[in-house]
Amino acid sequence: MNRLATKLGKINFNNPITVASGTFGLECANFYNINKLGAIVTKTITPEEKIGNPTPRIYETECGLLNSIGLQNPGIDEFLKYHVKEYKNFSAPLLVSFSASTIDEFAEMLIKLEKIDYIKGYEVNVSCPNVENEGLAFGIDAKIVYELTKRLSKLTEKELIIKLSPNVTDIVSIAKAAEEGGASSVALINTLLGMAIDWKTGKSMIKRGVAGYSGTAVKPVALQMVYKVYQALSIPILAMGGIQNYKDCLEFIYAGASMLSIGTAQFCDPCLPIKIINDLHNHFTQNNINISDIKGKVWGID
């Protein structure tokens, strides 16, 4: 029996650990056997090439990371022509993250991606804070998320994950809209909005001013959202936000996660995803449990 086995809406995974979009690349194969991951998630692809945001793009705060990459990517056509092949020979299921500015563009992208049989599912990024009028505008409006998901779900039989923004008044209503539109799972959270200023000079540490905030600091926020969404939805959750070790994973599983993405913490340790898989395996074996025994089973709440 594989204690770590888990699933999202349509795919079974050998283990619940994957990597957060934008924090992983095939360069990681230099450090460990990528096939050991539960799944691979690509950096977000857009309809056209994006050169990305001006620099500085990165700043480390006391307990988190600010980033303003701006979805730098070669665009879908280049991706399909050159890059996607590089993922072909990995056995870990491939999930492609993509984003666009209109529902039509999203749909066109999905149609193109559908042609690649070794793509096993999609993480639809409606929540990137670092580009204007792309992604985020969608992620904050339940109606648009519903329309988008409805359109996309008709175009594919594969895993359709909607990745949500935490920068909203009510993430549950948006998650529900995705579920009603036919998403097979939801992913949360993308980055919070954050900022840092050099106290000596008043200079913004990030050229674009406001950036995406991730890492340890955001974990309590992410956990709260996963908990609430789990209470309200019946489709599975791919959870992320500040995960640093297997203990954090257990917190998220108790809150309701079926699967987990490691993001920022990889920058401290590129081998972290594999270490976490091992630690989880040991924990589950020692305690003679599997994921479904504890998923969503947080207690002591009044």
Binding site: G22, T23, F24, G25, E27, C28, N30, F31, K43, I51, G52, P54, T55, P56, R57, I58, Y59, E60, C63, L65, N67, I69, Q72, T216, T264, Q266, F267, C268, D269, P270, C271
Partner: protein
């Protein structure tokens, strides 16, 4: 390229600002001048700190570290036998010098570090080395020394007499590392004389291995302006391709 467990074998204070830290790292001899490691003090919460190879002997890498903030301070507090995670060697080296080339090195402050190993690694190269710093604490052995405060060497920036020098001397390549503004000035002054200006750039880094696009630098390419990564595409860029005013 691997995330090595390095063992500190020595940590020497050079002056108030600088330390040289010697770390034993598996296969470290493979590192070449211009490459760097991303260091992480074990159990420290901080992300990694990119530090150039200053010297290598028998798989012991020396790092020259200037204290500018908490992370570099932590590095200088390491003691013998402490372990430290060392991801690398990362990035591309400076192009090896050809036999007949006159190389001019222009370094500023801690930008001195990679050239020490460069010079040692290519003992037969024709190298002239100008080094500048804010004051005597920022100055190390070189052919010509500059300080902003005039406390030692020539008073002024390392570029003070560069134009004149290039008019009077044959220079085939320039190699430079230091503050961005210094390298920008060098490119402006020297490009009319020297095509080949290798600049070692700095940017905030997260992953250090080319996956996050955090350490971007804007460069001209055949396809137009693009952002390349310092950690994987660099840290060495041609002075003529960098968009200095970003």
């Amino acid at each position: 390229m691997k995330d090595h467990i390095g063992i500190v074998v020595n940590n020497k204070k050079i002056n108030e600002l600088y330390n040289v830290i010697s770390v034993q790292i598996e296969n470290a001899n493979l590192g070449t001048p211009g490459q760097f490691y991303e260091l992480k003090v074990k159990y420290s919460q901080r992300m990694r700190i990119p530090i150039s190879i200053y010297n290598i002997t028998d798989n012991v890498v020396e790092f020259m570290v200037k204290i500018v903030g908490d992370g570099t301070k932590e590095l200088t507090q390491l003691k013998e036998k402490d372990t430290i995670m060392a991801l690398g060697p990362l990035g591309n080296p400076f192009t090896p010098p050809q036999a007949d080339q006159n190389c001019l090195i222009l370094s500023g402050g801690v930008g001195y570090a990679p050239f020490y190993y460069f010079k040692k690694h290519y003992p037969k190269a024709n190298i002239t080395w100008f080094h500048g710093g804010a004051n005597r604490n920022e100055v190390f052995e070189a052919d010509r020394i500059f300080t902003n405060d005039g406390s030692i060497g020539i008073k002024g920036f390392v570029t003070a007499d560069l134009h004149e020098y290039l008019q009077n001397n044959k220079v085939d390549r320039i190699l430079t590392c230091g503050p961005r503004i210094m390298m920008k000035n060098i490119a402006n002054i020297a490009l009319p004389f020297v095509k080949d200006i290798e600049c070692s750039l700095e940017e905030y880094m997260a992953c250090g291995i080319g996956v996050c696009y955090g350490c971007a630098v804007k460069v001209k390419t055949a396809k137009g302006l693009v952002y390349k990564t310092v950690c994987k595409d660099g840290a060495i860029f041609q002075g003529s391709e960098v968009i200095w005013d970003e």
